[in-house]
Symmetry: C2
Subunit: 212 residues, 2 copies
């Protein structure tokens, strides 16, 4: 992949991948940039510009092969490179993540789940027996763990992060407000801040109401 592709373009690729997966499932073989843009509610020039960042895949007068473009974007994202992962937290959020996401199609494989609440330890989730959080260290020492998914509150992450980092876990999907990459700059962290999303929604509703 060419260097210097901005993170903004990268962040749009999952969306392309998602729409192309759907088009392929619906039996669509090829698509023009105009039509792809329309499906994605983007402009055709934006689509062409984004895909040109990766060398372009379209043929003049033919458009894009849906399966080919999907495969190529999957390759750029590296989704076939499966990262063994542990989930910390089997509360409502952890259970929602474990239940609804197709990890294997998104570049991850969930191999173990840990929970502090003893009532939940021993229950099954996605075919995995929930372990006690006392067992994290032993598990990570004896298994290949690439990524930790943190469905935990901020203070729990604060208590755990030094241990996880010392054990060599450097990649995090983080639902807490704890700022991991500030403490450990050589980590890769994707934060999901649901409250930020709600505040943005609040702003946008207010702005719309002003113009009505």
């Amino acid at each position: 992949m060419p260097k210097g592709v901005s993170i903004q373009v990268i962040r749009r690729l999952p969306r392309y991948y998602r729409f192309l997966t759907e088009l392929e499932a619906n039996g669509v073989d090829k698509i023009s940039s105009t039509k792809l843009a329309s499906v994605m509610s983007a402009t055709a020039s934006q689509v062409r510009q984004d895909l040109n960042c990766f060398g372009g895949f379209g043929q003049q007068g033919y458009g894009y092969s849906v399966a080919g473009l999907r495969e190529e974007i999957g390759r750029i994202l590296g989704l076939n490179n499966i990262h063994p992962s542990i989930l910390l937290g089997a509360g409502n959020l952890g259970r929602a993540l474990a239940t609804h996401l197709n990890f294997e199609q998104l570049g991850f494989k969930l191999t173990a789940i840990f929970e502090k609440d003893k009532k939940l330890v021993g229950t099954m989730l996605r075919g995995i027996t929930v372990l006690s959080d006392d067992e994290i260290e032993e598990y990570v020492r004896t298994h290949d763990v690439d990524t930790a998914m943190l469905a935990l509150p901020k203070d729990s992450v604060e208590k755990l992060i030094d241990k996880l980092y010392a054990l060599g876990v450097k990649n995090y999907w983080n639902f807490s407000h704890y700022d991991i990459s500030k403490k450990y700059s050589d980590t890769v962290v994707e934060n999901v801040h649901l409250s930020d999303s709600l505040m943005t929604l609040c702003y946008r509703i207010n702005e719309k109401n002003k113009t009505e």
Copy 2:
């Protein structure tokens, strides 16, 4: 607020608000742009530039008043303007949202929760009795409902959206992959695509591994 502030700047405001709330809770009275930038892992010039979009609040040689800046950003976001909201879906995700988020501090108030699964109807969540999804129409007709939070799969949203829109619900916090604003362009929709976040994480891990 000045017109023409980009959505990129707006999307950073919740983050400022979050950090300022924390600083205030920790008893910090005033803060320089350099220090605020450091707390937020941003550059001081970025912080000054962002805050200047709204007229700037800092005083030379003094910095920013934490409480004053927080209040001002809260005012810009309109967080004191509370939007009455319903939650659709009381499964794991819906329960996680209802349990963990301080809606009232984020511009929303959860007034009712609806669920298809009869086993969950009648249970309590955040002090609210979960209602059957048969009751949505009656509820929305007889109550002030500004926003719907959709903790539902795509096909459920597809089935419900026409009814909700016809009932006058135009604002959505959407966890499904159903593209609401494509169908109804006068809606305000914040989408949370957890799978996109995971794919981005996958890409970033692979990129890091290439350079190691």
